[in-house]
Structure formats: C-alpha cells, structure tokens
C-alpha cells in the first residue's frame, strides 16, 4: 500500500462524520442484500388484517391491504440503493462529459452551458422533473433520469471550474507543447486530477438526488404500486395519517436514516479530499 493511500485511509478512520456515515450505509446495504432473510414476509404478501397497529407479530403493523410494513420497509432499501447507484452514475457521466468539455474548450460551448443553466433555473425543479417524467413515462428509473436532467448544472459546475484552473497549469501546457491531442489532454492529463472533485461532487449531491427521487415517487410520478418504495408508501400512508400513522412513520424513518448516512459520508469525504473547505 502506498504512503498516499495509507494517509487517506488514516484520514478516513479519524473522520467522525465519515465513519458514522459509513457504518449507517453499511447497515443499509446489508439489510438490502439480506432482505429475503430478514423480512418476515414478501413485500406483496397479504399476511394479516389491514391496519393492524404495531405488535409482537407485526413490529411495524400492517398496511391498508394487510401487508407487513416491516417487510416493505426492508425491501425498500433495495429501491433506495438502486436510486443511489443509478443517480451517482448519471452524476458522474454528466460531470465528466459536460463539466470537462465546458471547462476545457470554453468559448461558445461554455456560453451555451451558462445559458442552459440559467434556463433550467427559470423553471421550478419539481415541475420540470414532473414534465420530463410525463414525457418519458412514469417509472423509478425515469424519475432518476428526470432529476438528473433538472440538476445537471450542479453536477457539471464544480468539474468545469476545476478543469478551467487545471487547464492553465504547467503540466497541461507541456503536454500541449509535445503535441498531445485535445482528447489525450482532457482524459490523460486533466481527468485524473479532477477525480477528487468528482468524488466530492457526487458524495455531496447524492443525498439531494435521493430525496428528489423520493419526492417524485411521493407525487405518484416515480415507482408505481406495488413497489415498496418509501416515498410511494409515505404518500399512501398520508391518507391514513389520523388512524394509522405507522404507515407513514416507519418508511420515513428509514428514508431519513439512509439519506443522513449519505450526507454524513459526503461531508466526511469532502473534509478528507478538500482540506481547504475544512479549514474554514
């Protein structure tokens, strides 16, 4: 192990936020992997009477169709992690493609970038995402795509800024003098140095992406029934909040726990990779 990665590992182990976030997410991942074993029943099984309050046999109660809420919350982890993986990949692709090319080429491409950013900011995010989902069809995957299309500017912006400052550095100039092509300069010279910024960007924007996707599910434009999606369950649960609050409380707690885990991990990663911000 090189001394550099040893140093990073040391920084990770000593960052409280990072460690707390890491273990919170680890528990979520484990629950998702072993959902079959942990859940008392399948998430679509009708196990008992409807609206049973939490008890020995059903820890989180049963929902309006008599399904076990605990099982649905457990299977919901898989959906949230799928959103996280999909969201992070889209963020990376947008960050690299848009951020790198705008920062590297500048000029007309960059003007278009700025204009499109302003354009997206003129329309309320939720509404734009709703319009995109209506256009491409209601589903979980499409709701993540819609969120990425609304928030693309915030993924590209930090990468663009970093690329701009790297572009003027001596090692890039040297590469240019040796006749390297633009593609080589972008991907072999600049990209490796942008990776820390990419990681920071993804880890700080991911909690927001997960929340927004859940909001779309809550509004009925994401996952469709009978999916155990937490946002969808919460929105169903809102109809019975007076009589059966456990329908909305437990998916909510699970969601806050997961997003908080991602946020803490993100803060930790930012502190470790971006010491400038920490000194503030």
């Amino acid at each position: 192990m090189s001394s550099k990665s040893k140093e990073t590992l040391h920084a990770c182990l000593h960052n409280v936020n990072f460690m707390i976030g890491f273990f919170m997410l680890l528990s979520v991942v484990l629950v998702a992997i072993f959902a079959d074993k942990l859940a008392p029943s399948g998430y679509t099984d009708f196990v008992d009477n409807a609206f049973l309050s939490p008890s020995q046999s059903h820890w989180f109660g049963t929902d309006e169709l008599g399904r076990d809420v605990l099982s649905r919350v457990i299977y919901g982890t898989r959906i949230t992690l799928k959103v996280a993986i999909l969201g992070a990949s889209l963020e990376l692709i947008i960050g690299v493609v848009v951020g790198l090319s705008c920062g590297y080429f500048g000029g007309a491409i960059d003007h278009v970038f700025t204009f499109l950013t302003d354009l997206t900011w003129c329309i309320p995010g939720t509404i734009l995402a709703l319009a995109v989902v209506t256009l491409i069809g209601k589903s979980l995957t499409n709701s993540v795509i819609a969120i990425a299309m609304v928030c693309w500017a915030s993924y590209a912006r930090p990468i663009r800024a970093k690329t701009m400052s790297l572009k003027t550095m001596a090692f890039v100039e040297t590469g240019k003098a040796f006749g390297e092509s633009s593609a080589a300069l972008m991907f072999r010279y600049i990209l490796p140095n942008v990776i820390p910024s990419l990681i920071v960007m993804v880890s700080t924007t991911l909690p927001g992406t997960i929340l927004s996707t859940t909001t779309l599910s809550f509004l009925g434009m994401g996952s469709q029934a009978p999916s155990p999606d937490w946002g969808l369950n919460l929105s169903k649960g809102m109809d019975y909040i007076g009589s059966a609050p456990w329908l909305s409380i437990f998916p909510g707690i699970a969601l806050v726990y997961t997003v908080l885990g991602f946020s803490l991990l993100g803060e930790g990663i930012r502190d470790i990779l971006d010491p400038h911000l920490k000194s503030q």
């Binding site: 354009l119 309320p124 509004l219 997003v259």
Partner: protein, 308 residues
C-alpha cells in the same frame, strides 16, 4: 443592458422549452375536457377551436400575440375559466405561505448562523451543524407528515388541512421553514467564517474597534452579500409556491395548481404559470445584481468604471 437582453432571450427560451415539452407529451388535452361519449366530429371541432391541430410555431406565435396584445393567458382546459382567474385566486395563498416562511427563515437563520461562525467548534456550533444536516436529510413531505401527526392529530392544536384562517398556515409555514432554514444557516455560517479570515477584520480588531461593532459593521455586512443574493433568487418561489407542502396540507395555491395542471396536462395553465415564473426569475436576477452592487463597494466601482 446586456443582462436585460439575455434576460429577455431567457424568457422566450423558457416559453419555447415549455411549449415543446408539452407538445411532445403523450395524451391529448381534449380527452381531459370531454368524456368518452363525445363524438369524433365534436372532438375534431374542439381540437380545431383550441388550435391544437396547428403546427407548434403557429400555436406559439398565436399564444404570445394574445398575451402581449390582449393580456389574455388563454382558457384552462380543465376548469374552463380564464387562466388568469385561476392564478388571481391562488397567488395570494402561495405568497402568504412562502412569504412568512422566508421571513421567519431569515430571522432565525441569520443570527443563528452568525453565532455558529463566531463560536466555531463550540458545542453550539457542532449542534447546529449536525441539526441542520439532519433537517436537510428529511424530505419535506415527511416533515409535514410528522407535524400533522404531532400537532394536528395528537395535540389537536392546529387543523390538519385547509386555508381559510391564519391557524391553517402555522404548520405548513413551519414545515417549509424547517426545510429551507438549514441551507441558509449553513450558508451564513460559511460566509461569516470566510469574512472572519479577511485581513480587514483583523485590522479593524487590531486598531481597537469594539468587537460588536466589527461583527455587525464589517463582518455581517460582507457576509450577507451571498445570503442576500440567495434570498433574491428565492423570491420567484413566492409565486411558484411550494408544490409538496401545498399538496400535503391541502392549500390550493400556485404549486398545487401547477402540479395538478401538469398531471392532467392542462397546457394553457402550465404555460402561463411557467411564463410568469420565468419573467420573475429574470427580474430577480437583475435585482440581485443591483443589490450586490449596493452592498459591495468593489463591484460598484467595477460597474461604475464602465469596463463591463
């Protein structure tokens, strides 16, 4: 002037974008207005009457012409009343909801953020940083659900939903404020910390100016520039409303109107509301530039110098 020009282009681009998005959507607004029994001829006639059979650019020009010449935003397909009437009823409710929330958010976030920055690394600072992180990890609809559960269902202090009396607005305003408070508090804290590192603050303290005076006159004023910009940027949101909060608490405001209209594809309403919001966004952008210039002498000089 250049900014004004870009602003105008932006407004046109937003309307074009909205137009093409709606144009490409599956489904057909006539299906929303009529039930299945209506004959095909009647449908075709209605399509023609609303101009849905025209090419996109013809529809666009016709729409713009009506707005500019007659101040006519068109008819809602769903409610069959002029769009303007719908907006006129709903704007005050959204302004009330979002305005109070913005005000309370500022009154809380600014002093708390300043305090957290001044007492950096103290228990209070750590507490507020972690507490705001917790708040930002909560989806607004769940926070709303919790508030309803505790204060409306449990304690029965406030009604669950409705919009007639002031009591109806307490919970939604609280839910909205809690959501946005965290961001502003963190922004204020970060900005104050940045300013505290500036040399002019050290100078001011070194030459013996009273601590409070330095904090308010030097630090807060400079730290507030970014915060003010973010306030101005969120002003259009007063009109656009809070989609999720309005849905949970059953407030028929602009957010609710926009949500329902996009779900049932009530094109004229969506177009008109988004046009209004786009115009407001552009205006607020320009205003925030002016406010920055007033607050920050360096930028004022740069603009006055005429090199831009």
């Amino acid at each position: 002037m250049k900014k004004l020009g870009i602003g105008l282009i932006l407004v046109v681009a937003v309307t074009l974008l909205v137009f093409s998005l709606l144009y490409m959507m599956p489904g057909n607004p006539i299906d929303i207005m009529t039930d299945r029994k209506v004959s095909a001829e009647k449908r075709a006639e209605m399509v023609h009457q609303y101009g849905f059979d025209q090419p996109l650019h013809v529809q666009y020009v016709r729409w713009m012409k009506k707005i500019i010449l007659d101040q006519d935003f068109g008819q809602s397909v769903r409610y069959k009343v002029p769009v303007w009437n719908l907006m006129r009823d709903r704007i005050p409710r959204s302004v009330k909801l979002c305005g109070w929330s913005l005000l309370i958010e500022m009154l809380l976030a600014l002093p708390l953020g300043l305090l957290a920055a001044i007492k950096k690394d103290s228990f209070y600072d750590r507490f507020s940083v972690n507490f705001t992180l917790m708040l930002t990890s909560m989806p607004s609809f769940w926070l709303g659900a919790l508030l309803i559960l505790i204060f409306a269902v449990g304690l029965k202090w406030f009604p669950i939903s409705g919009f007639e009396s002031a009591r109806n607005y307490v919970l939604p305003v609280a839910a909205l404020t809690a959501g946005s408070l965290a961001g502003t508090l963190r922004l204020t804290r970060a900005e104050v910390l940045e300013v505290l590192n500036e040399k002019y603050v050290t100078t001011a303290l070194a030459k013996g100016l009273p601590y409070e005076r330095v904090m308010f006159k030097h630090v807060l004023r400079n730290a507030l520039i970014m915060v003010t910009v973010s306030v101005f940027m969120s002003l259009p949101w007063l009109i656009s409303g809070a989609v999720v909060t309005e849905k949970i608490f059953g407030i028929p405001g602009m957010g609710n109107l926009l949500l329902n209209s996009i779900v049932v594809q009530d094109f004229p309403v969506v177009q008109a509301v988004l046009l209004l919001i786009a115009i407001l966004t552009v205006i607020c952008n320009l205003l925030s530039d002016i406010v920055i210039a007033i607050l920050d002498p360096r930028i004022r000089i740069a603009i006055g110098g005429g090199d831009k």
